[in-house]
């Protein structure tokens, strides 16, 4: 295989965890809910996927477990913010901190365990293909189906959606759970495919980068996809530079994804009007049918 094709494949592989997590968060945010717990959900997804894959010897059961674990954590968030009406920002932060602690705790005995990773088919990993399929599905769902329209309406104006008779809280529950399952899937991809192992805090801020990606993408799925691969490419730079023998301390290259996130976030957010126009109008605000 020539170098260019290989580079494309590597970029796809590095961007995929971000694709999963950011697409999930996109759907959650489209319903008007801001879940800052992506990092926590990814980590818990990664650790559960790894443990189940290690004990059952079936990586696909691991993938399923990762999704369920992410969704489980998201359910906790949904109960606290949607039913109990707690502040979404504070609860999301709490979820991330909780996920970091929980995953470190339950993953302790699995730190040096070796597993059978999910093997690529014709050079591409099935989970990478799944992420592309997920993108197509989400795009189709949001813009081509009635249910997608309802979801967006709930995010723009929950009062109106409620007045027409849609179950706003129920729809938001589903969107949050979907986001959690996707984040869990992103975590599972990390611990089963990208770097088949479990290391405490192995997401290294990818959950937060995914949150930033949704803003960069001005809440548009195809831009989320493009942004995820762009950042995948940036994370790749550190390994490529080392392989090419560039004499530069590794720390500079490790900083790249974070510095890039900050810079791109500033450039995209600069135009406040565009952000305001594209963000779901009720993002982060609670809603209760009784007013």
């Amino acid at each position: 295989m020539d170098t260019a094709a290989q580079l494309v494949l590597l970029t796809l592989a590095a961007g995929t965890p971000l694709v999963f997590a950011a697409l999930g968060e996109l759907v959650t945010e489209k319903s008007g809910v801001l879940n800052l717990g992506v990092e926590g959900m990814m980590l818990v997804g990664a650790v559960f996927a790894f443990i189940v894959a290690a004990t059952t010897k079936s990586p696909w059961l691991g993938v399923l477990a990762g999704m369920c674990a992410g969704a489980g954590l998201a359910l906790l968030f949904a109960v606290v913010t949607l039913t109990l009406q707690a502040n979404q920002v504070a609860s999301g932060l709490a979820l991330s901190l909780f996920g970091v602690g929980l995953s470190a705790f339950i993953g302790l005995e699995y730190v040096s365990v070796v597993i059978e990773p999910i093997k690529p088919v014709f050079g591409v990993n099935p989970l990478v293909l799944l992420s592309l399929l997920l993108f197509a599905l989400i795009h189709w769902f949001l813009y081509k189906t009635r249910a997608g329209l309802v979801l967006r309406a709930v995010g723009e104006s929950p009062q109106s959606a409620h007045a027409i008779g849609y179950p706003v809280v129920g729809i938001r529950y589903l969107a949050v759970l979907f986001g959690g399952a996707c984040a869990g899937l992103g975590g599972a991809y990390l611990s089963l495919v990208y770097n088949p192992s479990w290391v405490e805090g192995m997401t290294a801020g990818r959950g937060w980068i995914a949150l930033a990606l949704v803003v960069f993408a001005t809440w548009k799925p195809w831009r989320v996809l493009a942004g995820a691969y762009l950042f995948g490419g940036v994370t790749l730079a550190q390994f490529q530079a080392q392989a090419l023998g560039v004499e530069i301390p590794a720390q500079y290259l490790s900083m790249l994804p974070y510095v890039a996130t900050v810079l791109v976030l500033a450039v995209i957010s600069r135009d406040a009007a565009t952000i305001k126009l594209n963000a779901p109008a009720s993002l982060g605000r609670g809603f209760h049918p009784d007013g």
Binding site: G101, W208, L211, M255, R270
Partner: protein, 346 residues
Amino acid sequence: MWLSPIVATGAVIVIGLVVFAFMGKNPWLATYTFFIDPIDTSYDVGELLLKASPIMLCAVGLAVGYRANVWNIGAEGQLIVGAICGGGAALAFQEVDTRWVLPVMLIAGMLGGMAWAAIPAFLRTRFNANEILVSLMLVYVASLVLSLLVHGAWRDPEGFNFPQSKMFAEHALLPILVPETRLHVGFLMAVLAVAAGWLFMRKSLPGFQMRVAGLAPAAANYAGISSKRTVWMGLMIGGACAGLAGVGEVAGPVGQLLPIISPGYGFAAIIVAFVGRLHPVGIFFASLLMSLLYLGGEAAQMKLALPSAVTGLFQGTLLLFLLAADVFIHYRLRLVRAPATVTRAA
């Protein structure tokens, strides 16, 4: 208002009992080891206050911003940069033995923390960039900068190639507060910060303006309270406190720069700020609790071979329970015929 932190603490202890029992330990012995054993001598109390100091400092600073809806979650990074700047000053004045070295270090650390917090403040006010994401990203950058320094330029040439700086000179270390313990002046600074935080929020005009900006942004706007100034003030105070906490860490028992300075004090401070209800007095007690969770985790690891990661689990649980408990206190649960719904209390 003070009920939910207590309920949440109780809930964490109950969860602790369950987790300990689940791991095959005697739950009562484990609970004793975790919550009582770490504070039963005066030396241990010193350790409790020592660990509580950086958390308290960071949390007081963060709470000022949170009151005004300025969500700085990068205190950990500001702490690291504070430690780098303070530590840099200590290394620069290694040979200069005057009592001015310590104040210079403290100021350098505060300025460092402020400079790091100025990045999200500038990007938020000038480019409308979300301060939550920017401040968090900078935590990773800060720890990589520290790693660069202790692996490179600032590495102790006589340190057997370990990634660590030279030990600071005696005059660059914070004096011990209580003999026979390791408790140093940093605790005094934290308590002063608590008092200053209370005075600022309750008795000063900018503090009042920040509270208004948090409670009613529209009203603040009409009243001519500059939202840019609110953002800057929130982040600068948070950065200064976290930077000071960073100097306190390296000029304390450690006495040198290491690749890892804080076991997540900056993140624990977010939890402490909420559990303390964004009120300085509440933060004082919440930091003691958080410090106990750290010490308890260490004790459980040494005496019961329980993983110290329990600490992180308990920290997260504490905050989630707090947020949930708030609802049951602000709202009354009313059983209506058929489905039960949550209704606003009259």
